[in-house]
């Protein structure tokens, strides 16, 4: 075989150069401090979570603001490898790489909190988020057996509180984060009993009860459910933002929806005590019993939120961290809701990656075997497989160059491309060989014409593929862009580099048989 002749062709040299450059890029290298190349993977391979949140309003200015505050929150929470991508005029896609499923819980809790803060005493709000001046590190207080988030409020708020609290020893102080302002809570009888009667929420007999405080401070009505009709409840909900059903089963929810009322339903989590459940729903921290030292009329700017639990209580620690993060980053300018979650554990992602790499290798081998059986010549099968392999390397090299995150659809696209690549090499080979049973290249003058025909097919199919995939690339933000990306890059590499090189190789190899 005349290897020298093959290797000296310009197009072949170009192909070899492409492969060498691609391999270098795939491995990655550093110039000074900057890293160039190296493969990076999407969350469906490296493991991680993709979260989609939607703003209640369509507003691109707010969208940017929310994006920045969410980014800040995740930074404060200490999450690494975050990517935030605004989409349209009300959606943000957040992807966080390499996290465990437990961390995902915290991340979601942190970003979906609007973070509106209120400090309230006996039915009067004395401080809001704007009054928070500084938030300190989370610490553990062994005497109270609770995790503490200390913060300080403005002087004005502190003075207001001092006035309100004068002489009221033992009264409850509440701190709220995202309470359901201006709504109706329909609660089951046992939940109501806890809210009104139990000392968890009320310390001295003449202090206002929790439902009273909620009503006066936030216009939240708490109603015990005793089989009222949906109509009666709908009347109560007039002018309110929404109705929240707490611990109530049955079809009340759908009945109220029929009245055109916004309804939310809440259930206790497994093993959750009723008072914890209530706190979670109304966003309450506390109530704290007002100590004697604070009732003298002297303004104090230092406050704290405490979250009960042992020193080892992971849940309490995480809660404290989330509260700190939300207080520190301030409230979001608009409500956001969790619209999408897609989580892949790092081990599962790793498994998927291994499987697709194996599939890719097997695809190449199968293709080689089929081509060999068709032509009965290793001389054709080997170059075909090597050319396809170099195309795969070229796509990976380009992905490494622009730091494209390879996800599963991208890799599926690459493997599907092995199929197309081989298809087109077969078109070239068959044109060179002539008719079905003819084994040798026919007249030299015919070669140009034959190659012209082969490349007509190749260009036509490449153009259509690229057109089809461009629309996919433009219109989708999700994982499919990866599929479109690898298909487009592969097709372009194919028509510009690999196909012409293969044509040169095949011409020489098959001409020798004459």
């Amino acid at each position: 075989m005349n290897w020298k002749k093959v290797l000296l062709k310009t197009k072949v040299i170009f192909l070899i150069l492409t492969v060498v450059v691609s391999l270098t890029l795939i491995r990655g290298f550093t110039i000074g401090d900057t890293v160039v190349g190296g493969l990076s993977y999407g969350t469906d391979i490296s493991g991680g979570v993709e979260i989609t949140v939607v703003l209640e309003e369509n507003n691109t200015v707010l969208l940017e603001e929310v994006k920045n505050s969410l980014e800040e929150r995740l930074n404060i929470l200490g999450v690494k490898d975050i990517k935030l991508e605004p989409w349209g005029n009300n959606t943000i896609k957040i992807s966080v790489a390499r996290v465990s499923d437990k961390e995902v819980d915290n991340i979601i809790n942190t970003i979906t909190r609007q973070g509106v803060f209120y400090a309230e005493f006996n039915g009067v709000i004395f401080a809001t988020g704007e009054d928070i001046k500084r938030v300190d590190q989370v610490g553990y207080d062994a005497s109270k057996s609770a995790w503490i988030v200390p913060f300080s409020i403005s002087k004005e708020a502190a003075e207001k509180f001092a006035q309100l609290a004068l002489g009221k020893v033992g009264y409850p102080v509440d701190i709220f984060l995202d309470p359901p302002v201006n709504s109706v809570l329909i609660v089951s009888q046992d939940v109501y009993a806890v809210m009104v009667m139990i000392n968890e929420f009320q310390f001295v007999p003449d202090a206002k009860s929790l439902p009273q405080r909620l009503k006066e401070a936030f216009n939240i009505d708490v109603i015990a459910y005793g089989n009222q009709t949906a109509e009666e409840i709908a009347k109560l909900a007039e002018g309110k933002e929404k109705v929240i059903l707490i611990g109530i089963n049955g079809n009340l929810e759908s009945q109220l929806r029929n009245f055109g009322i916004k309804v939310e339903k809440r259930e206790p989590r497994a093993g959750e005590a009723i008072d914890e459940f209530i706190r979670r729903i109304i966003g309450l921290y506390g109530p704290y019993k007002l100590q004697e030292g604070l009732t003298t009329g002297e303004p104090r700017t230092e406050l704290a939120i405490s979250i009960g639990g042992t020193r080892q209580d992971v849940f309490a620690i995480e809660q404290a961290k989330i509260v700190r993060t939300v207080l520190e980053s301030g409230s979001l300018p608009v409500k956001v809701s969790l619209e999408g979650v897609n989580y892949i554990s790092p081990t599962l992602g790793e498994q998927f990656k291994k499987q697709v790499v194996q599939a890719g290798m097997m695809a190449l081998i199968m293709v080689g075997v089929i081509v060999y059986f068709h032509y009965r010549r290793a001389k054709i099968a080997i170059p075909v497989v090597l050319t396809s392999l170099s195309e795969v390397l070229a796509i990976l090299g380009f992905a490494a160059l622009i730091r494209w995150d390879l996800d599963l659809p991208s890799i599926a696209g690459i493997i599907a491309l092995i199929g197309t690549s081989v298809d087109q090499q077969i078109v070239i080979t068959d044109e060179l060989l002539g008719g079905v049973k003819r084994e040798k290249i026919t007249k030299r003058s015919g070669i140009l014409k034959r190659m012209g025909r082969a490349f007509f097919v190749i260009w036509a199919s490449a153009t259509t593929t690229i057109i089809a995939m461009l629309f996919l690339f433009w219109y989708f933000i999700g994982g499919l862009r990866g599929f479109a990306f690898s298909t487009i890059v592969g097709t372009i590499t194919g028509i510009l580099i690999t196909r012409p090189a293969y044509a040169e190789i095949a011409k020489i190899l098959l001409a020798e048989e004459r």
């Binding site: 989609t52 999408g340 599939a359 081509v371 499919l480």
Partner: protein, 283 residues
Amino acid sequence: MLENTLKKLAATDPKKMITYPLIVFLVAVLILAVHFPNLGIDLGGGVAITIYGVDASASEVEVFLKQNNFDVTARAIIDPTGKTKIEIRAPLDTDPLEIMSILRSEYPNAEMHPVKVGAAISKTAQHQGLKAVILAFIGMAIIVFIFFRDPIPSLTVVFSALSDMTIALALMSIFGLELRQATIAALLLLIGYSVDSNILLTTKLLRRKEDTIEDAYFSAVSTGFTMSTTTLGALASLWLLSQAEVIDMIASVLIFGLLADFMNTWILNAGVLRWYIYRGEKK
């Protein structure tokens, strides 16, 4: 054996050749009219959790979650390598992370993949998908016309692509595959595959004047057959070796489409072209 079949095909009356693929196309349209593939989670919205490596049956998992007040349905998916995974579906207002934490307490070794897609996102994805498919199809048609500048062969190529996609969709409906973003991508890639083989056939029959039509057809089929088998080989490896849902879906849709394309190119398109050439010769 194959050669004999092909010889028979090459000798068949072109009009007869065209009939069969058209019947298949109509059947596919009927199937889609009766039962269009269900929308998958990313286009239809909802909550889904896929559980890998759990020693329980789908119904056991379902009962367990129902006892914990989750309104779910579970089904087992067995892949070709014999590994099973369980897929749980729940209504949109369910928190997938809560289901996960409960499952984790019962099946500590299970690997889980939770997905939640809200109504707003799934709607947008539907619109985008439809737009991408329509525009890609129009783009393809324009390119084909530019390359051939001959209405009948161009229309046949465009129709073949349409038929490939329709039959692939009908097969998805029969095999219970859902229409998802990934399957839309695969359907779009089919356009490329379809054009590939059809253009090969058309150029060979129309431009290769040195052979007879039968010879040109044989040579095109022989090339096309190798092309399809290699692609099927690559896709089958993908389907067999991977457990990731996205990959399986892309691979199966491409396999369906490729099989349909085989018929549409070598029988339908070949029939139309032969009829077209004979008609030209008569004139």
